[in-house]
Each structure stands twice: as structure tokens, then as C-alpha cells.
């Protein structure tokens, strides 16, 4: 694996192909699988971002419903910034610029999503005395109300895809195209 030489181009783009002696889990070296992961993440996060950009107050209220952050600067800043981070990550996954960084951001973001959705689900289960499979709420993700278990599975899949992209050695938009 070629590592960076310190230039901006090296930081922005990745050079393809595993290095000598690198043993890879087979799906990681399958460029079509990695491309599918990238396109899935890009589509989901660009769509989610577009639903939230321009309505920060609504998104702040949706975050506040998790009862983790109260009304205040942290909540409002998160409501302003998070949709744009999702949008930039989506564009990055499509274009191949800052790929590894956006995959890392999405992996971290999805872990946080899983934790907070589980926390909110537990609160609803306690409050309404219902099992997990009946917990139905609007997670504020930009896709409308859904079942909590379905959201947890979706976020786990996105986390897995982000990890795949993060660990994969090949970073190109079109498989077969080689940069440099």
C-alpha cells in the first residue's frame, strides 16, 4: 500500500491496490463490493442531508427528543453542522476525495446513531411498557417515522459499509480506473 508523501494531493486522494504482503479479507479486495458500499452510503447520507439542510430548528427539535442534549448552543450547533457533514461525506464517497476520512466520520457517526437510537428505544419501551419490535418513532434521520429495530439494523449496515470503505485498499469511483 502506497502511503502518503506529505503533499496535498496525497492527502486528498488514495492510490489503489494492496501492498506487497498485505493479506486482505476477500470482500475488501473486491472493488465492486467496495463501490456498492460507497454508493449506498453516498445515496443514503446525501438524501438524509438534503432533508435536513435549511430547517435547522426542526432538526434541533428532533435531536432534543432524544433527551440527551437540552436546548442550548451544543444542540443548535449540532443541528447546523451535522447535515452538512453528512452531505460532504456523501459527496466525498462519490468523488473519491478525502475518502478514508469520510468513511471514518461515517463509521463514528453511525456508532453514535446506534447508541442514541438504542437509548431512545429503551426509554420508549420503559415509558410505554412495550417490546422493542413495537417501538415506532421518528428518529430525525430524514426518512420519517420507522420501527426502532429496523433503524438499528440499517445503522449497523451503514457502519459495516463505512468500515469496509475505510479498510479497503482501492479508492476509485470507477473500478478499473487508476489514478496516477
Amino acid at each position: 500500500m502506497t502511503t502518503g508523501r506529505g503533499s496535498l494531493a496525497d492527502l486528498l486522494f488514495e492510490r489503489g491496490g494492496p501492498g506487497r504482503g498485505e493479506r486482505l479479507w476477500p470482500p475488501l479486495s473486491n472493488r465492486w463490493f467496495i463501490l456498492a458500499c460507497r454508493l449506498l452510503l453516498a445515496a443514503v447520507f446525501i438524501y438524509a442531508a438534503v432533508q435536513k439542510i435549511g430547517r435547522p430548528l426542526l432538526f434541533a427539535d428532533e435531536i432534543e427528543m432524544y433527551r440527551i442534549l437540552g436546548h442550548g448552543p451544543v444542540l443548535y450547533m449540532l443541528a447546523i453542522i451535522l447535515p452538512w457533514i453528512e452531505l460532504f461525506c456523501g459527496i466525498s464517497l462519490l468523488t473519491g476525495v478525502l475518502m478514508r476520512g469520510s468513511a471514518l466520520v461515517l463509521a463514528v457517526v453511525n456508532v453514535i446513531f446506534i447508541v442514541v437510537v438504542a437509548y431512545r428505544s429503551a426509554a420508549i419501551m420503559n415509558a410505554e411498557a412495550i417490546p422493542l419490535h413495537r417501538v415506532f418513532f421518528d428518529c430525525g434521520c430524514g426518512f420519517g417515522p420507522t420501527y426502532a429495530w429496523r433503524k438499528l439494523i440499517e445503522d449497523s449496515v451503514f457502519f459495516f459499509c463505512a468500515l469496509m470503505v475505510l479498510a479497503a485498499p482501492v479508492y476509485r469511483l470507477v473500478p478499473g480506473w487508476r489514478k496516477g
Binding site: 500500500m1 502511503t3 502518503g4 492527502l11 501492498g19 504482503g21 498485505e22 439542510i53 435549511g54 430547517r55 435547522p56 430548528l57 426542526l58 434541533a60 427539535d61 436546548h71 442550548g72 448552543p73 443548535y76 450547533m77 443541528a79 447546523i80 453542522i81 447535515p83 452538512w84 457533514i85 452531505l87 460532504f88 461525506c89 466525498s92 478525502l98 475518502m99 478514508r100 476520512g101 469520510s102 468513511a103 471514518l104 466520520v105 463514528v108 475505510l166
Partner: protein, 188 residues
Amino acid sequence: MLRFRRAACIFTAYMKILRAITQAILLAAVAAGVAFAFNAVQPNGIDPFRRPAEVPVLDRSGGEPRDSTAAPHEGIAYISLEEFREILDAGDPVLDARTAREYEEGHIPGAILCDYYEMGTYFPKVLPLLAPKMRIGIYCTGPLCDDSEMLARELFTIGYTNLCVFSGGIEEWTDAGLSLETGQGEER
């Protein structure tokens, strides 16, 4: 030789992680910069340091008898359907705090659309129709919806003091068998 290759692998992994973290920080910083710039110029942008206003609240939603000679309550009063109808009959303004789509699907006749989450878009159109001391009725979907109260709080912070929130909202209105207008004002 084996030790050298192992060290090279560790170094490669270290460089990958370092690069990923650098890229992530760069990406987050650019996204944050664009987000704040966009928030500053768009009409529905919010001040991240805004604080919820302290507003005196009075609950008359149970239809408690009122002293008509007393000065109006300064702040938010939760009102019953009967009192809300009095506001409509008196010709005082009534604001619908829901979205434009919900408004067009059906709203209380005579209500003015003022989506709480897009105040920046609607305030320039709505505020010229209101006077600070005017009695203003506000509603949203129903008892579980707090958009009407949130809109009332925002109006209070900019100088409107006689705010009547009909917390029963559209749900109580339709349950009472009263008609709605659709679109921009067709009776249903």
C-alpha cells in the same frame, strides 16, 4: 527480515490511520465552515446561542370562566375551543404553526400559515399583519404537538404579548365536527 516486514506493516497501518484522522478533521472543518456560512445567509438560519424565552403561561384550556373586564394576560394562555372560536368570530388573527403541506391539506378557515420551523420565511409576510397588543390565536395539529407553543414563545420574544394557544388544534376542531379549508382557502 521478518521483523523488518512486520515493522513496515505496522508503520503502513499507522500511516493509514493517521491519514484517515487528518482527512476526517479536514472534512469536518470544511463542512462546519460551510454550514455556519449557509446558516448565516439562509432565512431560516438559527442563532446557536439562542435561549428559550421565559414566558408567563396561563392555562384556560378547560374553559374556565374569565373576567372580561380584567386586563389581558401578558404571555401565553392555553385556551379552549370555545375561546378559540371567539377569537375567530372577533376577526382576530389566527396562525397555523404547521407546515405548508399540512396547511393546504386542511386548515381552520381564516388561519394564516406560519410554519414554526420556517419562521424566517413566514415572519416577513405575517408580522406586518399583526400588532404587538393584538390578541393572536395559534394552533397546530393537536395536544401532542408543541409547535404552536414554540411559535408563541418566539412571538413573545419579539414583542407580541397577547398570545392564545389552542392546544386542541386541528384534531379537536375536526372532532367537534367543524369544517376545514383546503389549499389556500377552499371550504371542505
